[in-house]
Amino acid sequence: MSSLFGSGSAAPIQTSEEIKAAVMRQLQQEAAMSNARSLIGKINKHCFKACVPTPGTSLSAKENTCLSSCMEKYIAMWNTTSKTYITRVGVETKRLGGQDAAAIASMATGMPEGGGGIMG
């Protein structure tokens, strides 16, 4: 794992197999990071709106409690939305002849497992 953080002394990657694995790892990391960044931005936006109606000189204990509930709720809803959407896309694809079933199946693996999973 240490080679992942690329200290300059690490041996250069040589074989096709190793290059492929490294590209795939980087791709998946960047995708996960980008998804997490979108989620965090939206949580910030909506929970700020819901929990901090009139910003004071600091966040009150009540606002902090609200923010923490809001964050969990937003992620819970994200998971519901994702599940419902993917189920529906599957139904529609089948109805339209099901050419893209493999693609739909691959989408399902993109779902974060539970609330904490998306951050991992």
């Binding site: 040589q14 096709s16 791709l27 979108s38 909506h46 509930s69 809803m77 691959s106």
Partner: protein, 91 residues
């Protein structure tokens, strides 16, 4: 984190495999973007009372599901309307 990867050393079959992985990731990313958008729309419609718990209650959960399904209905309805318009009156 950045590594110098010599992509010219990739074999043809590995190139093909990477291409497939890339296509899948792009598709996954598209779906996730749609889910982010949908979740935003449905959050505003369904979470209207004060936030007191970190879970969805029964009515919020049902609202979220209906919201996604009706959004899909809307999208399909627009598409079929457009389709019939494109066909023109003679269609």
């Amino acid at each position: 984190m950045e590594q110098q990867l010599d992509l010219t050393k990739l074999s043809e079959s590995d190139k093909k495999e990477l291409n497939q992985v890339l296509t899948n990731e792009a598709q996954k990313s598209n779906i996730q973007q749609t889910v982010h958008h949908l979740n935003e729309v449905c959050w505003e419609k369904c979470i209207t009372s004060k936030i007191t718990s970190g879970t969805l209650d029964k009515s919020e959960e049902a609202c979220a599901q209906n919201c996604v399904d009706r959004w899909m209905d809307t999208s399909l309805s627009i598409l079929s309307k457009l389709d019939s318009m494109r066909g023109g009156p003679g269609h």
